[in-house]
C-alpha cells in the first residue's frame, strides 16, 4: 500500500487555525500540481467505558480509540495507546460493540477532504455535529513504494517544497506527525493499520490543543 504521511498546519504564534488557511493551502497545491477534485472522509472516535455502578472502579482501558476510512469502507480500526495495539476488523465490529454496550462514544472527529490529486489531500478536522474547527489536515501519499524507510527522505523533500510554496502567502508551517510504528508492532511495510495509527495520533493531538 502506498506510504502516507499525515501532517497538520501549525499556525505561527498568536494566530489560530481558520478555514482561510485551507483555502490558501489548496491554492498552493494547485500551483504545484494538476488538480482533480474528490471527497474523502476519515472518522475518528474516542470511546469511554460504561460503568454500571459509578462508585465502583472497572478494570479496563480508560479510552478506546477507533477510526474508519471512506476509502476502506469494509474495515474498522481500533487503537489502544497504553497497550500499543492496533486492531483491524470488519466494519460489523461497530455493531458488535454497540450490542455489547461496554464502551460509549464520547467524541468524534471528522477529517473531511475537499481536494486532492493523486499525491495530496487537504482538509479540516472538526468535532462531529458542530462547527468546531480543530485543525487543518494534509495527507501526502507516495504511490510507487510501500516501505517507510525507503520513502522517508523523498517525502520529507516534498513536504519541504510544499512548505516553501505555502510560505509565500502564509505564516505557519506544515508539521509531520510521526507515531512510533515499531512500538505498536507495525512493520516497515505500510498498511491501513499505519494509517489508522496516524489519524488516531492526530485526533489526540488536536483534542489536546486548547481552542478559543
Amino acid at each position: 500500500m502506498p506510504v502516507k504521511w499525515l501532517c497538520y498546519w501549525q499556525p505561527s504564534g498568536g494566530t489560530t487555525v481558520s478555514s482561510q488557511v485551507l483555502v490558501d493551502l489548496i491554492k498552493s497545491i494547485e500551483s504545484m500540481n494538476g488538480v482533480r477534485s474528490g471527497r474523502w472522509q476519515v472518522t475518528a472516535s474516542q470511546h469511554r467505558p460504561i460503568r454500571r455502578d459509578q462508585a465502583v472502579q472497572v478494570e479496563c482501558a480508560r479510552e478506546l480509540l477507533g477510526v474508519a476510512f471512506s476509502e476502506a469502507p469494509n474495515k474498522y480500526y481500533f487503537v489502544l495507546r497504553p497497550d500499543h495495539m492496533v486492531v483491524e476488523a470488519d466494519s460489523t465490529i461497530q455493531s458488535i460493540m454497540e450490542n455489547l454496550q461496554v464502551y460509549r462514544n464520547h467524541l468524534t472527529v471528522v477529517f473531511e477532504y475537499q481536494l486532492g490529486d493523486f499525491h495530496v489531500k487537504a482538509g479540516r478536522a472538526v468535532i462531529a455535529h458542530s462547527e468546531n474547527l480543530r485543525g487543518i489536515v494534509l495527507e501526502v501519499e507516495y504511490l510507487p513504494v510501500s516501505s517507510l524507510g525507503k520513502t522517508h527522505q523523498l517525502m520529507q523533500e516534498f513536504v519541504d517544497i510544499w512548505q516553501e510554496v505555502a510560505a509565500q502567502s502564509m505564516t505557519g508551517r506544515i508539521v509531520h506527525l510521526e507515531p512510533n510504528f515499531g512500538d505498536y508492532s507495525l512493520s516497515d511495510q505500510y498498511s491501513w493499520q499505519h494509517t489508522a495509527l496516524q489519524y488516531i495520533s492526530l485526533m489526540v493531538h488536536f483534542l489536546s490543543q486548547r481552542t478559543n
Binding site: 467505558p49 460504561i50 460503568r51 454500571r52 455502578d53 465502583v56 472502579q57 472497572v58 478494570e59 479496563c60 482501558a61 478506546l64 481500533f78 489502544l80 497497550d83 495495539m85 492496533v86 486492531v87 483491524e88 476488523a89 470488519d90 466494519s91 460489523t92 465490529i93 455493531s95 458488535i96 450490542n99 455489547l100 454496550q101 461496554v102 464502551y103 493499520q193
Partner: protein, 231 residues
C-alpha cells in the same frame, strides 16, 4: 445486516448401537457419506479454537459475552469475533421449529484476545471443535457441521484437547436470514433436515429427541455404498 441463525441440534449417539457389528464411529461416517452425497462432496475439515469471554465486574450496561473463534484448518490462523443475541421470544417464536438468534460476526486481527482483555473482558472458558463442515444451497445457504467438542486441559493447550463426550458428535444446521426472509429460511432448513431423517432427528436446542430406530440399518447401508466413490 443482522443475520439470524436457525439452530438445529442433535447429539449423534454412536455408542448406543453397541450390539451391531459396526464400530462406534459408524454413524458419524454414515452421516459424512450422506452429506457428501447431498452436496456433491464439498466437505471441509473444521478445527476451531473457541474462547468465550465475559465482561469484567461492573463493566457495561449489563453483563455481556463475546466469542473469539480461531480457525486452525488453514495454514494461517483466521480470527473471528462473534456476538450472539438471545433467542427470539414470543408466541411466534415458539411455533418455529428452530431457534432464531441474531448473530453478528467480524473478522479481526490476531491480537484479538489481547484487545478484549485490555477492554476488560475475561476468559470464561475455551474449547476446541474438531470435525467437518458442509455447505449447501437450498433456497438459502445452509451450513451443516458435525463436530466433537474438546476441552482444553490447561490454558490454551489446544494440542492436548480431549473430547468431552468421546464418540458423540454435535450436529448443527444453521442458515442465515434477514428479518424479511426468515420464514423462507425456516422452510428450507426444515425440509433439509428431512434428508437426514434416516440417521438423526434434528430439533430445536433444548427439545429432547430419541435416537432414530432405523439409524443403525441406515448407517450400515450408507457406509457400504460410500465405499464406492461418490462423484
Amino acid at each position: 445486516m443482522h443475520k439470524y441463525y436457525f439452530f438445529f441440534q442433535r447429539f449423534l449417539k454412536t455408542i448406543f448401537y453397541s450390539e451391531s457389528r459396526f464400530t462406534a464411529s459408524m454413524h458419524v461416517e454414515a452421516l459424512q457419506v450422506l452429506l457428501q452425497g447431498l452436496c456433491g462432496g464439498r466437505q471441509e475439515k473444521l478445527k476451531i479454537h473457541e474462547i468465550c469471554l465475559k465482561s469484567g465486574t461492573n463493566l457495561g450496561v449489563e453483563a455481556s459475552e463475546v466469542h473469539l473463534l480461531c480457525s486452525l484448518s488453514q495454514t494461517d490462523p483466521v480470527w473471528t469475533v462473534r456476538h450472539v443475541g438471545g433467542p427470539m421470544r414470543g408466541a411466534g417464536a415458539e411455533q418455529l421449529p428452530a431457534h432464531v438468534r441474531s448473530v453478528l460476526e467480524s473478522s479481526i486481527s490476531s491480537n484479538a484476545l489481547r484487545f478484549f482483555y485490555a477492554l476488560g473482558y475475561k476468559m470464561d472458558y475455551e474449547l476446541v471443535r474438531i470435525g467437518y463442515v458442509f455447505q449447501f444451497q437450498r433456497v438459502v445457504p445452509i451450513t451443516v457441521t458435525a463436530t466433537m467438542l474438546c476441552k482444553v486441559p490447561k490454558l490454551h493447550a489446544i494440542d492436548e484437547a480431549i473430547p468431552v463426550t468421546p464418540g458423540i458428535q454435535l450436529v448443527e444446521l444453521t442458515a442465515p436470514a434477514s428479518t424479511e426472509n426468515y420464514s423462507e429460511a425456516v422452510g428450507a432448513i426444515s425440509s433439509f433436515a428431512e434428508h437426514l431423517a434416516p440417521l438423526i432427528h434434528l430439533s430445536k436446542p433444548g427439545v429432547p429427541t430419541g435416537v432414530v430406530p432405523t439409524a443403525s440399518t441406515a448407517a450400515a447401508s450408507l457406509v457400504s455404498r460410500g465405499a464406492m466413490k461418490v462423484s
